[in-house]
């Protein structure tokens, strides 16, 4: 593997041999490049003040992704283009259309969040596909502003979208593309510095053997969890293995009966296919986190980190997803629900890693619904996340799988409630009995996201909501506009 990283800072090449592998992009920009337009608001990827844009090689040119620089480590920039707010202005120094629109619409007050908003709007503009106002709100869900109330920013977003793409990045795209293409021939890289090691293998086999050699290393991809171990918990991570350069893990494959998602696939990349087959799952992924997070966080990372909340695991478990684990050259496939043993403990041996998750395709007569309850709709962690998959036959429940996040130490099935429902009539009396049975399935905790009492009441009511949406389809049940739901 190559030693040291190389990337484009704006349009300038940078080659760095020694750098702390856990140095964040934010700190690098501010402290090493003295580019202080990018701000730290929270150091945990939640406020978006640090938003920068990463240009990556794609099939048809460069794809631009807004990411949170506060939790991205420097080595991940290898082979990519890093764009900060200082790089946007035109060659003659005039403002970029996204910047100008923000001025014209009075969209900045204190200005501290502003560069982050500008970068989110800029990334959107670069990727064509003009969004409507609803989509714009999703694009900006990961940028918090405490001053404006957002209206002027949305107006600016709409105006800048109307202007279309005409900036120095469009003009330089071919050149940048050539540079990144040249670099892509040699993607494997390692960095050893500050007593820490970073490896970016470029094939699955290489990854498997590296991990066998370094079973104590942390496997990373989007850093939306591990990044916080450094920025919030101030931990030292001696060895990191980055899987983002492993092509085999970047694929989404449709098999006869499942959607097979590689460990390197981001939530943004999986959003469309999952949402197409399961609209509720698409909405869950949209609400999983902001676009900055979804752009880098992986579906499998959300599984492998063993969060008791997780959001995608409850939905996948309800759908009876399977997990492919790899250890050296050996693979095994297990039911996802068996992966979670208890809080903080998963069925994964040292040196073994999650390679893919297989999400079954929809079956006839099966209804699926999933619901995320949080204090705020966007960019929040669930208090309770409930997922339901039921097969109905002539008004009775042939089979049902119910899984909740936030109700136990792991995402866990509601076996008692399922038992109450299985084989019975899909009617209010049976459903109410199953709601009671949830009290036997779970003993939730009280914390800042919700009391035990609320979690239990909400969980019960989510089951009722699933019932209402399948049995009483005329009633409105959702306060958010949801894509066409796959009801009954």
């Amino acid at each position: 593997m190559r030693d040291g990283i190389r990337f484009l800072l704006g349009h300038e090449e940078r080659a760095i041999g020694t750098i702390d592998p856990t140095m964040t992009v934010l700190r690098y920009l501010r402290e090493h490049e003295h580019l202080t337009g990018t701000k730290e608001g929270c150091a945990e990827g939640d406020c978006g003040a640090c938003t920068v844009v990463i240009g990556e090689l794609a099939d048809d040119g460069i794809v631009y992704k807004a990411v949170n620089s506060c939790i991205q480590f420097m080595p991940l920039l290898d082979g990519k283009q890093l764009i900060a707010v200082e790089h946007l202005a035109n060659e003659d120094g005039s403002l970029h259309p996204a910047q100008q629109a923000m001025c014209d619409h009075h969209a900045s007050q204190c200005g501290f969040c502003t560069p982050g908003f500008v970068m989110s709007l800029f990334a959107q503009g670069e990727n064509a596909a003009a969004p409507d106002r609803g989509a714009l709100k999703d694009i900006l869900a990961g940028n918090l502003c405490r001053c404006t109330g957002y209206g002027p920013i949305l107006d600016a977003g709409e105006a800048s979208v109307e202007q279309g793409r005409s900036d120095r990045f469009e003009r330089a795209e071919e050149k940048v593309s050539n540079t990144l293409t040249t670099w892509s021939d040699d993607p494997g890289v390692e960095v050893h510095s500050h007593g820490k090691s970073y490896y970016a293998p470029s094939s699955a086999d290489e990854l498997a053997s590296l991990y066998l050699e370094h079973p104590d290393a942390h496997i990373i991809s989007g850093l939306t969890d591990v990044g916080l171990w450094v920025t919030k918990m101030h931990r030292t991570l001696p060895a990191l293995i980055y899987i983002g350069n492993v092509p085999e893990l970047k694929s989404i494959d449709l098999t006869e009966d499942a959607i097979s998602i590689g460990a390197g696939v981001t939530l943004a990349e999986a959003h469309e296919v999952l949402g197409t087959h399961y609209p509720d799952l698409g909405e869950l992924i949209r609400r999983f986190a902001s676009l900055q997070i979804r752009n880098v966080a992986t579906v499998c990372g959300n599984i492998a980190n063993g969060s008791p909340i997780g959001d995608t695991p409850p939905a996948f478990i309800a759908l009876d997803a399977q997990l492919v684990l790899r250890h050296g050259d050996e693979r095994r496939t297990i039911a996802l629900e068996d992966f979670f043993i208890e809080y903080g403990k998963q069925d994964r041996a040292p040196g073994e890693f999650v390679e893919r998750v297989l999400v079954p395709l929809p079956e006839p007569n099966v209804s699926f619904g999933c619901y995320k309850i949080s204090k705020r709709f966007d960019q929040d962690i669930s208090a309770v996340c409930g997922a339901f998959s039921a097969k109905f036959e002539y008004g009775t429940v042939e089979d049902i799988r119910i899984c909740f996040g936030g109700m136990a130490g792991t995402p866990q099935r509601a076996t008692k409630a399922e038992g109450t429902l299985r084989g019975g009539a899909w009617d209010e009396a049976t459903v109410r009995a199953a709601m009671d049975a949830l009290g036997d399935d779970y003993t939730p905790l009280t914390d800042m996201r919700g009391s035990a009492d609320y979690r239990m009441r909400a969980a019960r009511n989510l089951l009722f909501k699933f019932f209402a949406e399948t049995a009483d389809v005329a009633s409105e049940t959702r306060v958010l506009d949801v894509p066409e739901a796959a009801h009954g």
């Binding site: 003295h34 202080t36 990018t38 701000k39 730290e40 608001g41 929270c42 150091a43 945990e44 939640d46 406020c47 707010v85 200082e86 202005a89 403002l95 100008q100 923000m102 001025c103 014209d104 009075h106 900045s108 007050q109 204190c110 200005g111 501290f112 502003t114 709100k137 999703d138 900006l140 869900a141 918090l144 502003c145 405490r146 001053c147 404006t148 109330g149 957002y150 209206g151 002027p152 920013i153 919030k232 101030h234 949080s374 204090k375 705020r376 709709f377 962690i381 208090a383 914390d447 800042m448 009441r457 909400a458 009511n461 989510l462 209402a468 009633s475 409105e476 049940t477 306060v479 958010l480």
Partner: protein
């Protein structure tokens, strides 16, 4: 040819025009400089402030030896290292910079480490060994009330005889309402950069709304005269009251490191430390007992307000006073007794936050009105209108101030019509009758907010204006810029006075070296005070220019007129630049200070009566919500706002304050929940756990209007009105609409028990409770 004033030509950037924020282009380019963006002086130390891990404990011993010998550490400071007075409080002397023998909240500053990097400083701090002897902590208002624990004496305001009025009333209601606190969540966290000067001088760049107080506290801590300390800042990345009293700690520590090491020092709190260490909006428990007639007219009311002040007084006295001053909102209460308890708890000392207690006092009043309306089966708007100030003998507040500028009736009438309130309310009831799981709610609530610091001596401001000999202008004043656009507005005033384009007016950093003894940029007073002070300074120079021109051109003074970017002197016209240059050559002083103090206000604290406010700002909002009764999830679906900004100095900036204030208020009352665990630790100390509104929480249907007839009856700067705080309280309509939706869930049979914030959890519990009570009632 002589020109005349009839010309339609105007300067760019005068008052009342729409003008973009002066820093907008820099904000979007990332070139606006905040304190953390200032190039760091060579050898600068990074400082970490260590925090108490206990809410209430005696410190038996503090062993910092391992901290001192850790890699990179330059110095470690605790209470014994303070050469002056170990206090950074705004008023009472009860906020130790470093704990001395006792800690009174989890997060209190215990010592500080200065090291070459922040990572080293933080790692070193972890090596401290502190031996605590835990004491019983009081965390909530209830804890403090039960224990009789207060930071300040109780206070009372009385109008008439509430007891008799309550006893004689046809109807009587009483209840208890709780309203939560709020973290400011300014995007730029607390920061101070201190740089050594000659002698024992120190220059501190501080993100503060109150440079003079930071100066005073730094001098106090260092034991030096105030002249040895200069505080400077160009802008804050948000303040909202959070940077009024709190920045003294960070500045004091940074300055002390400078004193001890001779090196520059920076204290920058990360988000978690900031949220754990610094004060928030006070949460309140408010008991009410109201008597009213069968029409719904209030005859008497008694309030007992209990506020969680935290471990020290901070600004709680004035905050709790303001909660009392707004316990009436827009309504004549007839006979009122308002009692206030200022509870001492072992939590962070709560502080100023946009509205400064006013919102808490006001929301309780609005809830009382809603409950009266519910009891009588009437539309709450009807009860509101019935009780508005106005009419013979009905203009006196519970603090004996005559309401002289009341326009709420007009505003409400306009808004009721423009928002189509009545028809929408009726349609909503129909929807609710047929919708099983989702319920809609609507509410129209008014705002009357008193403008002036209620601590009368604070209502003063200074400015300094220089005209250079090329006609360009340097503007400085004691106000601070936190995003609200104060600097733009004051520059507009100066541009207007001189009749020059605003591009000729240089806006400069706030510094205690140019304008001394200033008040905080707070209480919505920034433009009122500093605008007038800058106007006075500009007028002083203008007067000298006129005197000079009259003499030099041998014309009467009334023959001199400032036209856009030029001056007519008799029959001649010269450019402003030329006149400035000529005046300089004639040895005329082109620099002036300006000073302003608010007239008419007075306050008798002992008698709890007087005129604490120069005037009132008014507004009203209608909010509509949609509630999921299975989960408590909800959305605000439409908002209509009509707000009185007087004659707005800059409608673009004022709309920014209205919308921003509303959304911030909406967050306070809905998703923003401060949560302490049983051990007295705040667990919501980052955006991952503390949820301010995001972009999608703003309703798409958001209609706001500045009231066209607005004009301040008092002689404020160009007849404008303060705009910083009042719009926050428009969001009370969201809470009232959610209450209405909960009532709908139980068939409007009971008045909902709902406290703020109305999180999904609080709403689901309220729905379940209302349904249970309704079932009980009909059983």
């Amino acid at each position: 040819m002589a020109e005349t004033a009839q010309t339609s030509e105007k300067i760019h950037g005068g008052v009342h025009g729409v003008l973009v924020h002066d820093s907008a282009a820099k904000h979007v380019a990332g070139s606006a400089i905040y304190i953390d963006d200032i190039p760091e002086p060579p050898g600068m130390l990074h400082v970490h402030i260590a925090m108490s891990t206990r809410p209430h404990a005696r410190i038996r011993a503090m062993d910092l030896e391992a901290v001192r010998s850790a890699p990179g550490v330059a110095c470690v400071l605790s209470a014994e290292d303070v050469p002056g007075i170990n206090d950074v409080s705004p008023v009472k002397g009860d906020d130790p910079m470093f704990a001395e023998g006792l800690v009174e909240y989890a997060g209190q500053s215990t010592f500080a480490v200065a090291a070459s990097t922040i990572d080293e400083a933080r790692a070193a701090a972890d090596l401290a060994k502190i031996d605590y002897e835990d004491l019983t902590p009081l965390i909530s208002v209830d804890d403090a009330m039960e224990a009789g624990s207060f930071v300040l004496p109780d206070y009372k305001m009385t109008l008439g005889d509430s007891k008799s009025a309550l006893n004689g009333a046809d109807h009587r209601l009483s209840g208890r309402f709780r309203v939560g606190g709020q973290d400011h969540f300014y995007l730029e966290g607390m920061i101070a950069l201190a740089v050594p000067g000659e002698d024992s001088d120190v220059h501190v760049y501080s993100s503060t709304q109150h440079p003079s107080e930071v100066q005073h506290n730094v001098a106090k801590v260092l034991g030096v005269p105030e002249h040895a300390v200069t505080i400077e800042l160009r802008r804050m990345g948000g303040g909202f009251g959070g940077k009024e009293s709190q920045p003294s700690l960070m500045a004091g520590v940074a300055a002390l490191v400078v004193r001890k090491t001779g090196r520059a020092a920076k204290v920058r709190l990360d988000r978690d430390d900031d949220m754990i260490m610094t004060g928030k909006r006070h949460d309140f428990r408010i008991d009410y007992d109201v008597g009213f007639d069968s029409e719904g007219r209030i005859e008497g009311i008694e309030y007992v307000q209990a506020a969680r002040c935290g471990m020290s007084a901070d600004l709680s006295s004035a905050i709790c006073d303001r909660a009392m001053f707004h316990a009436d909102n827009c309504y004549f209460l007839g006979n009122a007794t308002i009692k206030s308890h200022r509870c001492k708890t072992h939590t962070v000392s709560n502080t100023a936050f946009r509205g400064f207690g006013g919102p808490q006092g006001m929301i309780a009043m609005e809830r009382v009105i809603d409950e009266i309306a519910f009891t009588l089966g009437k539309d709450p708007v009807e009860i509101r209108k019935l009780n508005f100030y106005g009419g013979e003998g009905r203009n006196i507040t519970p603090y004996h101030m005559e309401v002289e500028d009341n326009v709420i009736g007009e505003i409400i009438a306009e808004l009721e019509a423009s928002s189509d309130y009545a028809a929408r309310r009726a349609a909503m009831r129909e929807y609710n009758a047929s919708s099983r799981y989702l319920k809609k709610g609507i509410a129209l609530t008014p705002v009357k907010f008193g403008i002036s610091f209620t601590t009368s001596h604070l209502n003063q401001a200074g400015a300094l204006v220089h005209v250079y000999k090329d006609g360009s202008v340097h503007l400085n004043h004691g106000g601070t810029e936190m995003g609200q656009g104060l600097f733009t507005k004051v520059a507009q005033v100066v541009a207007e006075e001189f009749q020059i384009d605003i591009a000729k007016v240089k806006i400069t950093s706030t510094t205690t070296a140019k304008v001394p003894n200033t008040s905080a940029t707070a209480a919505s007073s920034g433009s009122d005070l500093n605008g007038m002070a800058a106007q006075a300074a500009a007028r002083a120079i203008k007067t000298r220019l006129i005197e000079h021109a009259a003499e030099a051109y041998s014309v009467d003074q009334d023959q001199i007129e400032f036209l856009p970017n030029r001056v007519r002197i008799g029959n001649q016209v010269v450019s402003f630049e030329q006149l400035a240059h000529e005046a300089y050559m004639a040895r005329v002083s082109l620099s002036s200070t300006g000073f302003y103090k608010t007239p008419k206000i007075h306050w008798d604290a002992e008698g709890a009566r007087g005129r604490p406010f120069y005037y009132f700002a008014y507004g009203a909002a209608v909010s509509e919500v949609l509630l999921d009764t299975l989960t408590g999830e909800n959305r605000v679906t439409r908002v209509d706002i009509l707000h009185d900004a007087g004659k707005s100095l800059n409608p673009a900036l004022d709309y920014g304050q209205i919308e921003g204030g509303f959304i911030q208020g909406m967050g306070w009352l809905t998703t923003e929940e401060l949560w302490w665990n049983e051990d007295g630790h705040l667990k919501t100390h980052a955006p991952s756990t503390y949820k301010i509104p995001a972009c999608s929480d703003r309703p798409d249907d958001f209609r706001m209007k500045i009231w066209e007839k607005g004009r301040n009856v008092e002689n404020t700067i160009y007849r404008s009105k303060a705009i910083g705080e009042p719009p926050l309280m428009l969001a009370i309509s969201v809470f009232a609409a959610l209450t209405d939706a909960v009532a709908a869930a139980a068939g409007y049979k009971v008045f909902p028990n709902l406290d703020a914030p109305a999180t999904p959890e609080a709403l689901l519990f309220a729905v379940d409770d209302a349904k249970a009570r309704a079932a009980e009632a009909s059983a």
